[in-house]
Amino acid sequence: MQVEFQFNDERAICDIAGHETLLAVLRDKLGAMEVKYGCGEGACGSCVVLVDGNPLASCITLCASVDGSDIMSVKAPDPPGAWALLKDRFAAHEGAQCGFCTPGLLASCFALVQRGEKLTRQEIREALSGHLCRCTGYHHIVDAVEEAMAIWPTMS
């Protein structure tokens, strides 16, 4: 079957089998290597991308189901600067160490920041509980997100 969707503001038309996951199509057909395989169960969060603005685990999302959708990864064009803000704060606080969970994690953070959420540290922790990071202990991640939320959208 054929699916058509927007990926990082570019039109993607892919011939796929019905069982193919969004993760497999993004990586193997579109070369989007920033989308990571971590568990294949939708449990670790490394494969999360934004589908019409909502964070979804691409490893348990059938590609057929995203026909017509607008999909974004951490490499999406970023005129408003929310991705850039998050990346910068993550770097400044060392919110990544090995970095493997980071692109997926940033997708969830982007969704929060872009819709103007101002959350407490505990609320940020709850909002990110679908992501597992094994290096940072989360503290620096929460620092980065808290700061990004405080700055956004006044910086744009």
Binding site: G40, E41, S129, L132, R134, G137
Partner: protein, 768 residues
């Protein structure tokens, strides 16, 4: 020498500089091992054993060969040398380790049997399912204590004891005769846990233009190219391992994972081959942390003076030795904790079973012991009716003391200092008026080695040179597993060479093109490669100074922030001008050097004594405030404070990150994580069944970094990678025990709600 470096005013060292690798990672621009793609690439899938102990009667690959897309089945007979050997204790005993492919007697469920190579991952998977293995199941043994019995089933013909280490100090037998002594005996148990790095084991292998077997894979040790050469029976100069940024290691990528399979597949097919282990096979079949059974016997005078300690440790090695001898050695060395005790007997042994092999994991045996020594000290203080903090302080080792092994602790021991900070920050336990909740406070003080045991003759090399434009290239074989291994080396080079940090570029982790630095394990990389870079940078700076003086005269040269040399007479010379001048003088501004760690004799296991075991230790104290729900037994960590003396923090932000990460990994170990096996079959082989902590269950962590300026690393730094995890489980255990009240204590990990509820209900927690 390296240790004498202490520049009075440091410009880059000690600054929380932003790591360039982190910038690339957050941008999604890093291509990890599984992200590499090559033309005509094939895919590999392992067939793993279904039984924990069985004879392989027959392997039929006929059906698999007919699966569309399957290219080749690789079996034991296809491997030139199908057996790995090693000397894991480093004392000259060659141990037969695992085979590449098991073709005779399966010893654990998940042991690799053959490899299917196909044009797509799906075809490889289908092919693997079509392989038929006929087994004759055999009785198996899974409890290491049972495996020690005389009539136990043998896992290997030589007996089930992999290794036994002894530490003797003083004369315990005589010392414990005093009838006035108070004696307690307790057994503490730890569990199987998984590293659970986010990046599964993965890589691509190919044979390059010159016939070199090349593997680009996730590993902590590029030196495994030598094992691969032995396996293929080719010369070591025909194998190359390239290690891109690794998506987490924690010891789990210290033994080989995909390396032999990528190599044999590329060697036989002459095509690039990719392999990514599924999370489920990683959970099922990859080495885990050793479960320990630790029995502590402690004797003290009623006044609170410890007289003697006996420790008996059994670690489950699983089916193959891997690094078990070293893990149990580290356990033996720190078994008494950071305490000065005159009479000590320690026995630690690793035992073969038909369980999944166990091997390196952050803390490497030493961290499990903290769960023992920090509880027995607490329990003894309770028995004596004295303050446990004062009891600890009274026995803390000090600089210059003789440790249990007989070696002298020759650097600062800031146990009191870290303990003070933690107690001060934690404050008093708050009172709760909620009758269903109890609050507890607990601490743990630990020591953890950094660097390899001294008889391993450890060394690390690097190559540093000035480029024609004045930039600096640092080449080092360090695998960067996420702790900022390469970035901190750049800081060191920039500091000594007086150049801006951006002017230094590290090329890392390539066994062919970067000088070998040894693996990133044992908290050794900052100590070893850091010192190597100090040595190289000092030599390079001397050369630069020489060129300046030769070409422009002895003008009292100094360096400005942009990395320009300026003289008292007003000259201003760029580094590219220095490069040109050096060229004209036929004086290359390039240094290749090797740092050799302090080395020493092998351990005297008969006497249980050493002149030196590890180069040094990192000390620290953690404290936790917990809330226990008495109705459900659940634990909530309200506050967590962690303090370590790191000598000097090269990058305080990264040090803090190591502490935060160690604490949370330790909290998972303490409270929730466990890989469960039933008769050797993994029953938690799903990521979602393995209870690693997510953000919402974790508290903010107060990390307090102290700097004694007495480490043995660059600028007197100490290692912090592993030390950060050791105190967590005992601090939590003590806090939970404190909350539960007298006579209630969970002595096995993880400290689950069920076990706590059992304690509160007067049931034996271990039986639940």
């Amino acid at each position: 020498m390296a240790n004498d470096v202490l520049t009075p005013q440091l410009s880059v060292i000690g600054k929380g500089v932003i790591r360039e690798d982190v910038r690339k990672k957050v941008a999604g621009e890093v291509l990890y091992s599984a992200d590499w793609v090559m033309p005509g690439m094939l895919y590999g899938k392992l067939v793993r054993a279904l039984y924990s102990h069985a004879k392989i009667k027959k392997l039929s690959s006929q059906d698999a060969r007919h699966v569309p897309g399957v290219v080749r089945i690789i079996e034991a007979k296809d491997v030139p040398v199908n057996q790995f050997y090693d000397d894991p204790s480093g004392l000259g005993e060659k141990v037969a380790q695992h085979k590449v492919f098991q073709d005779d007697e399966v010893r654990y469920a998940g042991e690799p049997i053959c490899l299917v190579i196909a044009k797509t991952p799906e075809a490889a998977e289908k092919g693997a399912r079509a392989i038929e293995v006929e087994y004759e199941p055999l009785p198996s043994i899974h409890n290491p204590l049972d495996a020690l019995k005389d009539d136990a089933i043998l896992v290997h013909p030589g007996g089930n004891t992999v290794v036994q280490w002894n530490v003797h100090k003083g004369n315990t037998q005589v010392a414990i005769q005093d009838p006035n002594l108070v004696h307690i005996s307790r057994t503490y148990r730890t569990q199987f846990v998984d590293h659970l790095y986010l990046e599964p084991e993965s890589g691509v292998g190919w044979v390059d233009n010159d016939g070199i077997v090349t593997l680009r894979c996730a590993t902590q040790v590029v030196e495994h190219y030598r094992n691969i050469a032995r396996m293929l029976n080719i010369s070591e100069n025909r194998v190359r391992i390239i290690c891109p940024y690794v998506g987490g290691g924690f010891g789990g990528k210290e033994d080989m994972t995909v390396e032999p399979y990528l190599a044999i597949a590329a060697w036989i097919t002459k095509k690039p081959v990719k392999m990514v282990w599924s999370r489920q096979e990683s959970l099922q079949a990859r080495p885990k942390r050793h479960p320990f059974v630790m029995t502590y016997d402690l004797w003290a005078k009623p006044c609170g003076d410890v007289v003697a300690m006996k420790v008996d440790v059994t670690g489950d090695a699983g089916a193959y030795a891997l690094l078990s001898p070293r893990v149990l050695f580290a356990a033996a060395v720190v078994a008494t904790g950071p305490y000065h005790i005159d009479h000590v007997d320690v026995t630690s042994r690793a035992v073969y079973t038909h369980n999944v092999p166990t091997s390196a994991f952050r803390g490497f045996g030493a961290m499990q012991m903290a769960f023992g020594y920090e509880q027995i000290m607490e329990e003894m203080a309770q028995k004596l009716g004295i303050d446990s903090v004062g009891f600890r302080r009274r026995h803390f080792i000090k600089k210059g003391d003789t440790l249990a092994t007989g070696e002298i602790q020759d650097t600062a021991v800031w146990l009191n200092e870290t303990l003070d900070k933690v107690l001060n920050e934690l404050g008093e336990a708050p009172v709760t008026d909620d009758g269903s909740k109890r609050i507890g406070i607990g601490i743990a003080c630990t020591m953890q080695p950094y660097g390899r045991t001294v008889w391993f003759q450890d060394h690390a090399s690097c190559w540093l040179n000035l480029e024609s434009d004045g930039s600096v290239i640092l080449r080092t074989g360090v695998p960067d597993i996420g702790g900022g291994q390469a970035a901190s080396l750049c800081q060191i080079a920039a500091e000594i060479l007086h150049v801006p940090l951006e002017a230094v570029r590290a090329y890392y982790g390539d066994s062919a093109l970067t000088p070998l630095a040894g693996g990133t394990f044992a908290t050794r990389q900052l100590y070893m490669s850091g010192n190597a870079v100090v040595k190289a940078a000092q030599e390079l700076q001397e050369k630069i100074d020489h060129v300046l003086k030769t070409a422009w005269g002895d003008e009292g040269w100094q360096w400005d922030e942009e990395g320009m040399a300026y003289s008292t007479s007003g000259l201003r010379i760029s580094r590219s001008a220095v490069y040109e001048a050096a060229n004209a003088l036929h004086y290359p501004l390039s240094v290749h050097t090797t740092f050799h760690a302090q080395s020493g004799e092998g351990y005297d296991n008969k006497e249980g004594r050493a002149v030196k075991t590890f180069p040094d230790f990192t000390f620290g104290c953690h404290g936790a405030l917990v809330e226990v729900d008495v109705q459900t037994g659940t634990v909530k960590v309200l506050r967590y404070v962690a303090s370590h003396d790191v000598g000097v923090a090269i990058n305080p932000l990264s040090v803090e990150g190591q502490i935060h990460g160690g604490v949370v990994q330790g909290l998972g170990y303490a409270l929730s994580e466990e890989v469960l096996y039933q008769d050797g079959q993994c029953v938690t082989a799903l990521f979602s069944q393995y209870m690693a902590p997510t953000a919402e269950q974790m508290p903010d962590i107060t990390a307090i970094i102290l700097e004694s300026h007495e480490g043995k690393g660059p600028f007197h730094a100490r290692g912090i990678g592993e030390p950060a995890i050791a105190p967590v489980a005992p601090a939590i255990a003590n806090a939970v025990a404190n909350a539960l009240g007298p006579s209630c204590r969970v002595r096995s990990l993880p400290i689950t709600a069920e076990k706590i509820w059992g304690e509160l209900s007067g049931l034996d927690g271990s039986k639940i």
